[in-house]
């Protein structure tokens, strides 16, 4: 648990802030990502999921460090919870508030940070 917390803090880049409670769990985030997100964003997060060829706007490549670094954790959280439209993006990016709790969405954000910027597989 302690190890996970340190990992999560590292991944979130939230070292500057006081300890968030409870800490986001990037490992659980990876499982959630596989279940809900890989269908469009791809098994490896490269934006090339099985549904992608049928989408008129291509899903974000979550391994793209430059693009992902341009977004804060709050931006990512909002895009996932409320959907693409809430951040002036395509409606093809769904809102996931009916599928995951806020804590689970924080876990997914932690995993996205690991994926884009910490070399996680």
């Amino acid at each position: 648990m302690n190890k996970l917390f340190i990992l999560a803090v590292f991944l979130c880049g939230s070292i500057l802030y006081p300890r968030p409670a409870p800490a986001a769990d990037a490992v659980h985030g990876k499982t959630l990502y596989r279940v809900y997100c890989t269908q469009c964003h791809g098994l490896s997060g490269d934006g090339k999921g099985i549904n992608a060829p049928q989408l008129s706007v291509q899903p974000r490549n979550h391994r793209d460090r430059a693009e992902m670094s341009a977004r804060t954790d709050d931006d990512l959280f909002k895009a996932i919870k409320e959907g693409g439209q809430a951040v002036n993006k395509s409606i093809l990016m769904p809102n996931w508030d009916g599928n995951m709790t806020d804590a689970e969405i924080h876990d997914v954000v932690a995993y996205l940070r690991a994926l884009c910027c910490a070399g996680a597989k």
Binding site: T31, L32, R34, V35, Y36, T38, Q39, C40, G42, L43, S44, D46, G47, K48, G49, I50, N51, A52, P53, Q54, L55, S56, G83, S90, I91, L92, P94, N95, W96, D97, G98, N99
Partner: protein
């Protein structure tokens, strides 16, 4: 014929191909045969691991979901409903152009003969734990043109990201919807679009928080594309 020693896949197929049994024995036999892959009694689990490991969609609310005539016919000649199987991540593989459905990982559905199909449909249609959810819906099927409906389904609501509204067009991860009207009870369609998690807490479908008029418009579109012309009135 009477060999019901179910050991492994081949034996399972044998067990399923047996014709109808005495009426009193049917529920127990169906529960047992189908529970190998389907959840046969509720409630639906909120457990994420259960959604990843299940082998087929839940059947414990069959009587609230399917049209009986479709069910009886499909059990005898099952065709694929979910292009990427019941859990898409397990049936996707990386390819040169990105991920694609791994057809080799999908297997056909066991079929049963006509008397068994009747018996199974009779029994499964009695499974109706979600009648209260359907009772919340007040839907009279209406009309929307195929063109307007398609634009709504694809562009404004984003349903085509995961569902096909023609055999060729639409995503792979959700059940095909050009056949939805023949397969599903109209109030189920409406109720599922309104709140998918009320049916399955770990559904892979998002809740778009649509208003009733918007939901009815989508249901009417599924009717437009799914109703067989010869049955239309």
């Amino acid at each position: 014929m009477r060999k019901v020693i179910a050991l492994g896949g081949a034996a399972l197929m044998t067990a399923l191909s047996i014709t109808s049994v005495r009426a009193a024995e049917a529920p127990a036999k169906i529960q047992k045969d189908c529970a190998v892959c389907h959840q046969m009694s509720g409630p639906a689990s909120p457990d994420l691991a259960a959604r990843q490991t299940r082998k087929g969609p839940p059947l414990f609310f069959t009587g609230n979901k399917f049209r009986r005539d479709w069910l009886e016919a499909w059990l005898q000649k099952p065709t694929r409903i979910r292009p990427a199987g019941d859990f898409a991540p397990d049936h996707a593989a990386k390819g040169p152009e990105g991920d694609a459905v791994d057809a080799a990982s999908l297997s056909g559905h066991p079929a049963v003969d006509a008397p068994a199909a009747k018996q199974i449909a009779d029994y499964l249609m009695t499974l109706t734990p979600n009648t209260a959810l359907l009772a919340k819906e007040d839907y009279t099927p209406g009309r929307v043109s195929a063109r307007i409906g398609a634009m709504d389904f694809v562009k404004f609501k984003g349903c085509s990201g995961c569902h096909k509204d023609t055999p060729k067009y639409g995503g792979f991860s959700g059940p095909e919807l050009h056949t939805a009207w023949q397969r599903l009870q109209p109030p189920f369609i409406v109720s599922y679009i309104r709140d998918p998690a009320a049916w399955e807490p770990r559904t892979l479908m998002p809740n778009k928080h649509l208003n009733t008029a918007g939901i009815h418009k989508l249901a009417n579109y599924l009717r437009t594309i799914g109703e067989k012309p010869e049955k239309a009135k």
